[in-house]
Structure formats: C-alpha cells, structure tokens
Amino acid sequence: MARIFIDNTPYEVKEGKNLLEACLQLGLDLPYFCWHPSLGSVGACRQCAIKSFKDEDDKKGRIVMSCMEPVRDNMRISVNDSEATSFREHVIGWLMTNHPHDCAVCDEGGSCHLQDMTVMTGHSYRDYRFTKRTYHNQDLGPFLNHEMNRCIQCYRCVRFYKDYAGGKDLNVFAAHNHVYFGRQQNGTLESEFSGNLAEVCPTGVFTDKTLKSHYTRKWDMTYAPSVCQGCSLGCNISAGERYGSLRQIVNRYNGEVNGYFLCDRGRYGYEFVNSSQRIVHPAIRPHHNGSASREYIIGEVAARLKNGKAIGIGSPRASLESNFTLRQLVGAEHFYLGMSDTDHDHTSLALKILHGGPVRTPSLHEAETADMVLILGEDLTNTAPMLALAVRQAVRQVPMNEAMQQVHLAAWQDAAVREAMQEAKGPLFILHTFPTSLDELATGIHRDAPDNLARIAFAISRALGAPVNGSLELGETEQALVNDITAALKAAKRPLIIAGYGTGCDHMMKAAANISWALLQGGGQPMLSLTLPECNSLGLEMLGGHRFDSALAALKNGEADTLVVLENDLYRRADKHVIDELFSYAKDVILVDHLYNQTAENATVLLPAGTFAEADGTIVNNEGRAQRYYQVYVPKGEVQESWKWFLQIGEKAGVQRLHGLHNLDDVVWAMTTAIPALAPIAKLAPNADFRMAGQKIPREPHRYSGRTAMLANESVNEPRPPEDEDTPLSFTMEGYRGEAPAPLIPFFWAPGWNSPQAVNKFQSEIGGHLHGGDPGKRLLEPHVNGSIPFFTEVPQPYLSMPGHLHVMPLYSIFGSEELSMYTKGIAQRAQDFFVIYMNPEDIDEWNITPGIWVNFHIEGHAYLMVAVPNHWLPRGIAAMNAGLPKSQIIDLPQCIRFSGSEVTSTF
C-alpha cells in the first residue's frame, strides 16, 4: 500500500495502479473517456487531467493525465485544483464542438458517459457557434446502429474490437480531425462480441439495434439481476423491461465470471421472451382449448397424476428449483433428465471429473490469467464464447509479463505494453477437427478425427506421467506435437486445459482430465475447464435422474402412461422418430413451457411457464457456480414460474413431498436439505425477508416515469402494484436507494453516473470484485485427498468404415441454441440449410453432386440433406450443424449408413 495525498488529504491506495483508478476507487469523481478497466490506459482523451505536485512546498504543480501516472508513495496530487478543473472543462468543450445536438433522438441518452462527464466537468453551456463536422453512417448488421457524428475519437471501440476481442473488420480510417471508426464498407460486424461496442462506446456512436426497435430509456426500465441462459458459462446480465416486454440485456459486472463483457448471443438472444409464439394461457386438449380456468386445469392435471404412473422429464434450460419441484411431484424414481443421451454422458463425465478429481476448474476471470492454454476438440467461440475471449487474454500473459519486466511497464499502460509485445504470443495449442477463430493465436494446431486427437491428448498425459494402458503409436508429426505440448505444459506455471462437448467425443474430456491431473501430480498448478451444452446442464446432473432413453422404455412396458415435461422441446433431445414413438405411448403429455414448439403440438395439457425474465431460479454454470436470476416483471396472462405450477399441482394432488412449500425460499430450503451437494445455494442470496433500512430493493430507477399513465388506457384507477413474495426486490421504484448486496443489484447507477460505467462505484477494487464479493457460490471444489482416478482406456485410432459416415456435431454461436434463434438478427446469421459436411473424396466416391438435396438413410429413417464438401473433414467423417430448428437428427455424434447414391429430388 502506498500513501498519497489528494488535495492534502492522505489516502492509502494500492501500489501498481494508476492515479485514475486510485481516485475512482476512493470514490472521487474524475472524468475519463479513453481509459477502460479492461482495456487499460492510452492517455488519448486528455480528460482525466489532475495536478501533480513535487512536494509539500510546491504550490504551482503541473498538469498530468491521471490515467498515465502510476501511484507512488507520498505523492501529492490535486483533483479539485482550479487549473486542472478548468483544463478538464475545456477538453470536454473541445470534444463537444463537433458533437451534434441530437441527444433527444440518441439511444444512448440517459445512460451516456459523455453526458455524465459533461455534467461532471461543469461544461454546461456551448460557446461554439460554428459549423459541425458530419459523417456518413454504415449499416453494421442486425445488432448495432452506427451514428458517427457523435464520435469523440476516444478509440475505445477499435481498442476493444481489435485488440481485446480480436475482430478484424472494424478500424479507424482517415486522418487528423476527421478520423472515422467503421468498417471498410457497409456490412455486418463479424466479431461475436460486437455488441459490447454499445457499452464500450462512451457515447451514441454504437447503440443496441434491438433496443431501438422498442426503444426505452434506461431510467424507464424495470431491471432485475439475471443470468444469461445462452450457454453453460452463466454470464451475469441485467434484463430491462417496459410495458410488459423485455427491452434490453446489459452486462451485469461480475468480477469472477464475465467482467465487463458479453457475447452477442447473450446480449441479443432475449427476443424469445417477447415472441408471438409464447404460451400465455393454460390449455387442455381436447376440450377447453385456451379457455379453461387455472384452477380447473390444475385440478385436471392433479387428477391425471394420481394413478402414480406419471414420469417427469426435467430440463437443462430450466432452473434447479423447477427441476427439483418436478422431481418431488413425480418422485425421484420417476424423474428423467431431459437431455440427450450424449449430452447426459458428457455432463455426468464432467461432473465426475470436477467432483472426483483433484484439479480446480477456473472461473472465467482465472482462465484469463493462464499462461499456457491447451484446447482439446473445442471451437470455443461457438461453444463457450466468453471463454474464447478469456483465452485471447490468456495468450497475452507470457509476452506481457516479459515486456513488463524488460521495460518496467505496468499492465495498464496498454499502448506501451502492446508496442513492447509486438506480435508475441504465449503458448496456445488447439487440437480440433475444424479450423477455429482462435487458430490465429495458436502456437500449434493439429486437425484430425476426434478419436485421433484424443489419442494425441492421451499421449501427452502419458508423457506427463499419467498411467495409460494400450498402445499409443503416433506418427512423426504427432509425436513432435506431443513433445512440444508436453514441454510447454511443464514450463507453464498456470496451464489451462479446455475440453468439452464440442466434438461429441468424450475421450477429449477424459484426456484433458488426465493431463491436468498428471500435471498436478508433477507439482504443477493446472486449471481444467470443461464446456457443457446448456445453461443448467451441470445443475440438472447434480440433481440426478434417469437417462432420457429409459423414459421410452418405461412408457413402452406400461410402467408409465403420463409425461410431465418441464421447459423442454423433446424433439431437440433425440431423433424425431424416437420422440414420435415416445408420444405414441403416452396417454397424457403435460407440458410446462414458454414457447409453442413441436412438443407443445403433442401435449394434451399446456401450462405457461415463465422465462428467465418472468421467473426466479438458480442455475449452475460449467464451473459449478450456482447463480440466482430474478424475475424482472410480472407477465400478462397466466404465466408463472414452472416450480409454482408444480407446487400448486402438488397441493391439489396432495403430494406429501411438496407439502408446505409455497415460495422460492421454501423450495430452496427443501432442495438444499434433500440434496446436500446443493447446500451452498441456501446462502446464495438474501432471503425474501431481507430488508435494507426496513425497505425492499427497487427494481426500477428513481426516475422511472409514467406510473400513473401507463395503464390508464385500461382503467384510470391505478391498480395496486404487484408484490414480490419470493425475493427482497420490489416491482416498483419505491425502496432502499443505496447500494444493494451484490447478488441483488438490478442495475448499476450512482449519482452522476448514469451510464454502465457507474459500476466503478460498486467495486471494492477497480476491475476487481464487487463490494461484499461477487455473486454466485461454487458448488464444486477439487477433491484434494485420495487417489487420482485416471482414465486409463485409450481410444482406438479412427478407421473409416466403408459405406458408413461418422457424423459429428458442428456448433455455432448463432443457431445452435434453441431460444436465441427467436431473435431475428441471430436467426439471420445462423446457417439456414440443413447441410451435411463431407470430405470431398467421400462425396466423389458416392457420386453425390454437391449442393443438391440427397436422401440419407439412418436406421431405416430417411433424411433429406444437402452434402457440402469440406476439406477439413477426414475420410469417413461428416459433420452437421447442431441444434438448428427443425433438425431431425439430434443425437450426434452417430454413425450413419449411407445407402448408395440416393435419388436426388428437386425442389
């Protein structure tokens, strides 16, 4: 700790930081533009000027940029010095000369850093009376709106997009006072992290285009702390609602998980909540379609469950609470995991590795600090996007530390550090069948069939000392690669090994576990990160239940005749013919879900469930971190949380296992008592009776407008606002106005800080943890003592079988996830054809004309597909886009028999 004097007051601050960070951390308001806690300082905007004094006697001092000055012991500075204040005011005056008068039509208004800083510096009147510079805008695709007139040239956009996220197609053009930030020509921004520009840009140059389609100011939205449902990483988000529809997703800072950024699937994949396909009223077939009362239907469902022949099918995209109440409703012995068998195998293996193994799985923040990364069979950008962003930061670690030591720089001196590093990168090895967008950073890449890649990984683990049986004869290049990777792993202090569900081959995870365990045994400090298919896959697996395929058996042999399906489109869990058969044996299908999908077509009872924005719940991410998401608003119609439906049905049916449970806290209590592994969830967030100064925490900002008019068209007599009995949050603007505990912060706002940059007032260290610790509780800690359960079975080398294809899944950030596909922009960017990628030689051999619809036969079922040549695929291996809507082949990977060159049908 260093002692510094700010305006003659002594403060203790951390050494190694810059003065701007130090001042912000102390709660002082100091304006800035180009500095960003994740991007570092470049000293470009001259906005954070302060006075620095030589010693106590120095009365004159000199103006310095606080973001470029490191903290030194006994240094004397002044923030309020009149010269510094007037300097800052002038700087913003110059920045504003060309800023247009269009705040009224600007989407950033109300959450604008430039507005905040202008007010903060006191530049309240525009003296400039001359012409303003203008620019043409570009069409940047479905996610971002571009309005270059508003630019203040802080360079944050390109620094984030190019330097931080590795984007290629955004840059700065032209020169001197008319530089231009955009693409070389109109077109969709290619980076999967482009949406962050809306938050990184301090003003309205880049704004959220989906928000614009139903525009609402920040002060008018009802927010709740939420967790992204897009992938297994569980990034924290704040979801904003107005007039009964979800308007925007913004980042909710969590120092351990997502930090300041989100991927585009997470930021934009929310539109399904507003979809016209939402189920809003309970319905029962064949009678009362859409017209029966809630009580009637609950009674009906309860009656159908009474014979004890009902089985429940859970869901990896539903909360733990919903899954648990269903499990209690039907009984644990009748509870089936609603994930495909492959997903189940992967998730249970991952759980076994993380639970029984001695190596810690890192949070995203820890992953960023790795000094060596080995990726086994994962295209991270598409299966766990934010982890890919973390890997991009991790490869900078080694050269950055070298540069910092050689030229004595601090990590936050971004431009200087990058200059010193040049193009140097730390060790990153990728073994994957296809090219990935991280390949450009890799030290070594190897492409082959998944089984062969797994063999290489097993060879690495053997070289590190893991006991592995079986022959592992590799080619010369493979052996050289094994040696390289082994050497790099041994040399690294904090190596990170990543594997997951990406190739559908579970040997990858086993090999990754072996490698990390062997490293640990050898005295290293490895980290092991495993990606999982869905947002609550791990939570569901921890809850436990039967395999999905045994549900069909139970129906077939007459043990069960009624299905209770929780938030699940079963047609995404197994091939179409399997599910068709399943439904043919079911007398009743009771579906609790939010969207009318294929499964809903077959349901006899439909109960409308709340989405993440209309429900409270807990999900567990791939790290084993349980995180709570909160209901944002009270939906119209009869929509309620799935667990509430089950509680009501259980009460009606007299199910003892659900007796006495009424609200969220009850369910959490019952769940944590029944399943000890989930016990930390009880302390995840304050209970519903938590109050601050006797008040609840408001979901709405204090400037929330229109309360007495928004519902006046229905009735001028204002209804009583809804009450939230499940959480300590209130649905109104009334409540405690100070800082809420970290898990309960609905949105970041502080006096004078309306933009998302207000988060610095909530952090105990700038860029560090939130006050009181980041939200979320880890449920899995490494099993330190005892023997290491190495995987000793080595997979056989891949041999293509004549006439057969091994079809592996191909995941994509846009398209593979079910719910985000309801966002128009995401659907636009998804693969739209049902294609099968094949090795060109296979295509030749089987006389298929590329690009034409072909009949494929799998176990007697015919599928129409388009064969597309792909050079990366080895002979005998094919790939399919996984998770696209209307896909009929779900269970990937699988071996398909190709029955000759089939008739090509023309469309």
Binding site: P100, H101, D102, C103, A104, V105, G109, G110, R129, F130, T131, K132, R133, T134, Y135, H136, N137, E147, N149, R150, F173, A174, A175, H176, H178, Y180, K212, H214, Y215, T216, R217, W219, D220, Y243, R703, Y704, S705, G706, R707, T708, A709, M710, A712, N713, S715, V716, N717
Partner: protein, 171 residues
C-alpha cells in the same frame, strides 16, 4: 367614524366600476398566451410531428402522468407510437414543456377539460396532436439535429459541414 363613512363611500363607488368578474361560461376570460392549460403536441413547419419520443417530458413529470413509446418511421424520423397523458393526475406545472427539446409538447390557454367520467381524462395521441406549431412557429428540430432523415441528408442541417470524405488525407 370618518373612516367608516369613507369606506362605505368607496364601496358605493364600486357599483359604478367596470366589473372584474367574468360571466363565465357566457363570457370567456382572455387568457395570456403563456397560460398553462391543456397540453398539446404540435407539428413542425413541414407538418411533421415534432415529438421525437425522447421521454424527457415523462421523466420530468412530477406526477408521472405521461407515458409514451418511441418508434421510428421508415423515413428515419422518430415519433411516439402512442402518447398518453392522464389529465386526472396532471397538475399543469409545465415541466414537460420545459423539458421538451423539440418544442413539441406545449401547454395552451385552454382549461375547459372537465369530465363527468374520470376515464375520459385519459388523453391519447389523437386527442393531443394538433395541426399547429403552437407557441414556437418556425422551429424544426431535424433542421438542427445531425441525424439524417429522408429529405435531409447528412451535412444538410443548419451549421453543418458536408460529410467527411474518409478517403481524403487533405487537411
């Protein structure tokens, strides 16, 4: 004694003064132009809606009686998709007019809004939008704002330079 008589005399004289009381409703009171009465939404000189749906009036309203939804027309102009004022709550403070950056929302000298049914005091946009520029003739927001709309490209607003040629390196 004298003062009593004087007062009575003065009161008597008032019988011949011009009357201060207006015989409302037969006779209407002349109200000053800045009288804060009924709220209207005005149009700009081209006849387009002035309101751009910026939500500032709603935020300024101390009784929260204004609610609206911004939308964007195909020509790039923003407008309120719906605009609702609950006059049964309105206190005619004029903060909305003060907050309005486009002179769209204005309070006019009309106070005759009484209703027997309170529900009728909820005014929708069709009851608010008038075919006039109101108190500020000649003002056209889009002529000073930098956004391009159809009929006004970038650089064509007041005090704007033509758009930058990004390919030029000339000073």
């Amino acid at each position: 004694m004298f003062s009593l008589i004087r007062s009575m005399w003065l009161v008597f004289l008032h019988a011949f003064h011009k009357r201060d009381t207006y015989q409302y409703p037969e006779e209407k009171a002349p109200l000053p132009a800045r009288w804060r009465g009924r709220i209207v939404l005005t149009r700009d000189p081209d006849g387009g809606e002035r309101c751009v749906g910026c939500y500032l009036c709603a935020a300024a309203c101390p009784v929260d009686c204004i609610s609206l939804q911004a939308a964007e027309a195909p020509d790039g102009r923003r407008y309120p998709g719906f605009f609702r004022i609950n006059f049964s709550r309105c206190i005619f403070c004029g903060f909305c007019e003060e907050a309005c950056p486009t002179y769209a929302i204005q309070l006019i000298p009309d106070f005759e809004m009484a209703e027997y049914d309170r529900q009728n005091l909820v005014y929708e946009k069709d009851a608010l939008l008038i075919n006039s520029q109101g108190k500020y003739p000649g003002y056209n927001y889009y002529k000073v704002a930098g956004m391009s709309i159809s009929g006004k490209e970038k650089g064509e607003a007041a005090r704007e330079e033509p758009p930058v040629n990004v390919k030029s390196l000339l000073p």
